[in-house]
Symmetry: C2
Subunit: 229 residues, 2 copies
């Protein structure tokens, strides 16, 4: 009972929206969004599931709150940036800083995509993007196109359907490889060439990062050409 008393003695911090959202983010980070259930969230907080509903309307509101938290982190990461080396460099810096936040919360893009309306907190982020474009001499119209062209890349996320590097790991079965080479000669040729160039192609964070930057630079350069023409 001495132990019980000591346990009780810990001042039980009261539940709050903020605390609910912060542990929700922690669960998603550690176990993925699919593991984020009201019951798990409650038990992680040492509380009954129904207690959560005093601080958030429902689970949808928690997902909205998750986005709020992540966009908050992005705005913070992006707040201290500076430099007068042109709009391309400035926007590139902003986007790569946002990307670093997203890499810490890999579930976030999927959650962003489930919201049907634009996530309100993102407006502040995009206002900053527009500020950079305008100071670089973009018309309102071209700035508008630019935002659409960047899409989710504007916050550092590019949806990749195809990880060519994945397929390389399935080389346990040489027979299947041969069949694939026949059916998909270009895929097979590309993979052979890539493996030849760089046998270490498995370290995929670096790869993803440089591929992201490649695509981003393509867009930024294209936009600059449109602007100056």
């Amino acid at each position: 009972m001495w132990i019980d008393e000591e346990t009780d003695a810990q001042p039980r911090v009261p539940l709050s929206r903020r605390r609910v959202l912060r542990t929700a983010v922690a669960i998603a980070d550690e176990a993925g969004v699919e593991a984020l259930t009201m019951r798990r969230l409650a038990s992680e907080l040492g509380v009954e599931p129904m207690s959560l509903y005093h601080h958030v309307a429902n689970k949808e509101a928690i997902l909205d709150g998750l986005i709020e938290v992540i966009v908050g982190e992005i705005l913070e990461a992006v707040g201290g940036l500076s430099g007068d080396d042109g709009w391309q460099a400035a926007l590139r810096r902003r986007i790569l800083a946002a990307r670093e936040v997203l890499l810490r919360h890999r579930w976030a893009p999927a959650v962003f995509q489930t919201r049907k309306e634009i996530a309100a907190p993102l407006i502040a982020y995009y206002d900053g993007v527009l500020a950079i474009l305008r100071s670089g001499g973009f018309s309102w119209d071209l700035a508008h196109h630019a935002i659409h062209a960047l899409g989710s890349r504007a916050i550092g996320f590019a949806m990749e359907l195809f990880q060519p590097d994945d397929a390389g790991s399935g080389d346990d079965d040489p027979e299947m490889m041969a069949m694939m080479a026949q059916q998909f000669p270009n895929i097979a040729g590309m993979m052979a060439a890539i493996v030849h160039d760089d046998p270490d192609t498995t370290l995929s964070w670096c790869d993803d990062q440089s591929e992201f930057e490649f695509g981003l630079d393509l867009l930024l350069e294209g936009l600059e050409r449109r602007r100056s023409s």
Copy 2:
């Protein structure tokens, strides 16, 4: 009982994987993926939920099957294309044809994103993309970069987080508009300029389409410059 007999007389088409997947696509098209439950799918097929498990392993397998069907439609749409007007035109045609299929199944990109490995049927599609790039003179390495740079745009889907046009519809509250103009001057400025240019900006399919093409052309042009340098 006459009626009963007539009803029974309809040759009850037996369940099959193909029939399961086709009605699954129909449900997703009409009511969204979130409405696609085993129970709903079964009742739409006039069968008990458990009967489905004789033709598909589980719900995950159905989602994989959904992708298989959609990629099948894409490959069909893309199969008859031709023209010798250069790789840019050829790839543009292929991607826009794929996009038309996706616009008929708007839930599809979200399902693509839930699969952790690359959807196997997509390999055939990408092999065709690579064929176009190679015939246009791309090195394996640059073709590889190109595929990453295109990302989901390669099958006609660009993830948009921000629909600036949405925000315009919230103009019922002039006080909020004023507050927004103060807090987010660039967003407000852009929206004012866009509404001024084109009061009909609400017809958003056309807009989305032209914005998609704008971004796609930016990438294609950038890739051509990389190729020819």
